[in-house]
């Protein structure tokens, strides 16, 4: 068993090991362990030994070797290590002679010799022994004929007048800077692990195990560093302790009819909700309590069939709204005014489509004559000015917050810009859902899911298009992950499908009986600190939340609504905040359990603003334990309703 430990699997040459195997056999005979250790145990002993040695616990190492009878390393390698650590360069080179045959590749022997000499040379220079250094340079480094460029560089260091200048010019931290240990770590890569272990092997195995547990953790939504995760038990966040939106912290019932859409602004400070009766509300998110309060109320008119789509511009200033019933125009409100710029640059702004290729979403000052510069509650309308048979029911912004695309299933698919209005059309595409994405060359492409179950990419600048994927059913809704790599499609009778957009493969199928069987427009949203959650509305009155890529593809169900959950929105800045919009005319805010309970508590602590059913204790239980009934006492009286400018 000793042979298995020391020779490893890479070479069977036993000639040079005669000495070491003999001594190993002797050690084995002296071992106190019975029955003898198997291969795995021996390797573990070696890892532990390395760990202890790296900590500096030399006595423990000796005791370990003694008691287990397992040498930590090939003895020649151990001597080599000792010599290098002590700076006995000649002895180290002698050791290399016997280790020569063990290197993984024969050519590495030269490089090892080179590095040993390099370290020796630098140390001699540092100590001021110029003659010795020159000797090494001429008689040892140069004859190797290896990396002559480096040799030239080394020869220039002779000009340094002292150690401090040497350190500065060469970037070499000095013999006291752990360079000998670093050298050993580098040299290890030339040997098979049976001869010389990779540095910190036990710690890197433990880190890998922790990372695996974190990847499987169902509710993990924090950026806990790997090094801080306890090893004592498998890591698994509990639903209530994690930063996972597990409990309802607020029920807001200001809407009068079915709430169809909800979207957070990219800066996480506002929420827009759209209703079947045409109302669009803007809610402000309180930074500390994450409470929603109504800030603006817009209406798009009753006859438009309700709000179908809401889209915030990437700079969080503008809100775009599409109506459900065959509307030939889309509406854009300016929710926040543009940042102030000096007059010269404001006047100079004029974009041509081809000139703008900045996917970083830089904020743009719009011509101040346009209604979009003020905080007016009148929206600007965008249409092609064509027939009333046109239908624009979905839209998506470009990263510059100036251009956007809009389309519908009657075959309209248009590019608009805020200043010039209608710009371009792509004909005969029946658009179901839209998104935008940065293409390979850095420009923006529009992604459209169409009525034939395809998702295709359209470049309005080059007028080139290509099909990315083809579904085998009708696509209801589409949303992209934050990194634009994954698309989640809601497909009729099939549930949610996750597609990798770059490789064009289906990654995962998330089934949910309430998701797509009835053919309702249910929207989904990615969220979480690393975008690894997907939440979706559902017909069973719950929101479903999946951990993407997790082993368990069963969703978490957030129940409490008494009607179909049409849409969900995950706050892009406050990663534990999820909002659901439902046919029961309410929106609910879901927060991590701790926050949800304290949100309910402060509600009553502040007195009069609490629920009005008379018993405050009861009301806090209502909010925290997510009841199924919708009662008027759940109203949210601390709304404030200003038409002023939102900061």
């Amino acid at each position: 068993m000793e042979n298995g430990c020391l020779n490893g699997v890479t070479n069977g040459n036993s000639g040079n090991h005669a000495a070491s195997t003999a001594e190993a056999a002797a050690a084995a005979a002296a071992s106190a362990v019975s029955p003898p250790l198997n291969e795995r145990s021996l390797e573990t002993v070696r890892l532990i030994g390395q760990f202890l040695r790296e900590l500096g616990l030399a006595h423990s190492v000796d005791a370990l070797v003694q008691e287990s009878g397992c040498a930590l390393e090939n003895s020649a390698a151990a001597s080599f290590r000792r010599h290098v650590a002590n700076g006995d360069w000649d002895a180290a080179e002698e050791c290399m002679q016997s280790l020569q045959s063990l290197v993984t590749e024969a050519s590495s022997a030269t490089e090892i010799a080179f590095r040993l000499c390099e370290q020796r040379y630098m140390e001699l220079l540092e100590a001021g022994d110029y003659m010795g250094a020159l000797n090494v340079l001429r008689n040892r480094l140069t004859p190797l004929k290896f990396n002559t460029g480096r040799v030239h560089e080394l020869s220039t260091y002779i000009m340094c007048s002292d150690a401090e200048e040497l350190h500065r010019i060469s970037g070499w931290p000095g013999s006291l800077g752990g360079t000998r240990e670093a050298l050993l770590d580098q040299l290890q890569q030339f040997f098979p692990p049976a001869v010389m272990l990779p540095p910190r092997r036990l710690l890197s195995l433990l880190d890998e195990a922790v990372q695996y547990q974190l990847a499987k953790c169902r509710y993990h939504n924090t950026d806990l560093p790997v090094a801080e995760v306890s090893l004592l038990a498998d890591h698994a966040c509990s639903r209530d302790s994690a930063e996972f939106p597990a409990r309802c912290g607020q029920v807001a019932d200001q809407h009068q009819d079915e709430v169809r859409c909800c979207q957070f602004s990219p800066d996480g400070r506002h929420l827009a909700t759209g209703c079947k009766d045409g109302a669009v509300f803007i809610w402000r998110v309180d930074d500390l309590t994450l409470r929603l309060s109504v800030a603006r109320r817009y209406h798009i008119g009753e006859e438009r069939g309700g709000v179908a789509c809401l889209a915030w511009s990437p700079d969080s200033r503008l809100l775009l709204c599409c109506a459900a019933e065959d509307s030939s125009d889309v509406l854009v409100w300016c929710v926040s005014p543009p940042p102030l710029l000096p007059p010269a640059s404001a006047a100079a702004h004029h974009h041509s489509l081809l000139a703008e290729s900045h996917p970083n979403g830089a904020s743009v000052v719009v011509n101040s004559a346009s209604v979009l510069s003020g905080g007016s509650s009148e929206p600007q309308r965008f249409s092609r000015g064509g027939t009333p048979e046109e239908s624009l029911t979905t839209a998506a912004w470009f990263p510059d917050s100036v251009h956007f695309v809009a389309g519908g299933i009657r075959g309209q698919f248009y590019l608009f810009s805020l200043e010039a209005g209608y710009r371009k059309s792509w004909d005969f595409i029946r658009v179901v859902a839209l998104a935008t994405r940065t293409d390979r060359d850095g420009n923006t492409a529009a992604l459209a899911a169409d009525s034939f179950g395809r998702v295709r990419q359209y470049r309005f600048d080059t007028m080139q298009d290509e099909t990315l994927l083809q579904e085998d059913g009708s696509i209801i809704a589409m949303c992209l992950s934050r990194d634009q790599q994954v698309a989640a499609l809601n497909v009729v009778n099939s549930g949610l499908r996750l597609w990798d957009l770059q490789h064009r493969v289906c990654l995962q199928r998330l089934a949910g009986p309430g998701i797509s069987q009835g053919g309702y427009c249910l929207h989904a949203c990615f969220g979480g600190l690393t975008g690894n959650f997907l939440a979706s509305g559902s017909q069973d009155n719950c929101a479903h939340v999946w951990r993407i890529g997790g082993a368990d593809s069963q969703p978490d169900r957030l129940s409490g609504h008494s009607g179909i959950v049409n849409s969900v929105a995950w706050n892009p800045q406050h990663h534990g905040m999820l909002v659901t919009a439902s046919d029961d005319c309410t929106i609910r805010v879901w927060l991590p359990t701790g926050r949800a309970l304290s949100a309910a508590a402060t509600d009553h602590g502040s007195g009069g603003t609490a629920a009005t059913d008379g018993s405050s204790g009861q009301a806090s239980a209502n909010l925290a334990s997510s009841p199924a009934t919708h009662s008027p006492s759940d109203s949210n009286p601390d709304e404030d309703d200003d038409d002023g400018i939102l900061e």
């Binding site: 459900a324 065959d326 034939f452 209801i476 053919g519």
Partner: protein, 128 residues
């Protein structure tokens, strides 16, 4: 203030499919797209309002419970179909035909001519 919503009215937004095609048929009442000329199998059928068409595939329909009906061509098991959006009854779908010569109709849909509109569509420009 809390509205009384009846489960059957509280619907959420219905997803409307569209089959495309160069000649599109849609509901005469609400213009919901249903099918196209390519799906048309026969025009020689008769419904309650007169002429009716037999289609291979139609979308955006709700179906009723199974019914036993005797027609000119024999006894069939059918379901009534109606427009998903406005609930107008539009025709029926054949589930089962007792006579062998009529079995070709199984799974196909009858839409009454007076209850649908035909309009101009466009071909799918995507070639790949």
């Amino acid at each position: 203030k809390s509205p009384e919503f009846n489960a059957s009215y509280s619907m959420g937004r219905l997803h409307i499919e569209h089959m495309g095609g160069e000649r599109v048929f849609s509901c005469a009442n609400c213009d919901c797209p249903l099918t196209n000329r390519q799906q048309l199998i026969s025009t020689r059928f008769t419904g309650a309002t007169g002429r009716a068409f037999l289609f291979n595939r139609v979308v955006n329909l709700d179906t009723s419970e199974l019914q036993d009906r005797v027609m000119l061509t024999g006894r069939h098991m059918v379901r009534d179909v109606s427009c998903r959006k406005c609930k107008t009854k539009l025709g029926w779908v054949y589930e089962f035909a007792t006579e062998e010569s009529q079995q070709y109709k199984e799974g196909k849909i009858i839409l009454e001519r007076a209850l649908i509109n035909e309009s101009e569509g466009f071909p799918d420009p995507v070639k790949d």
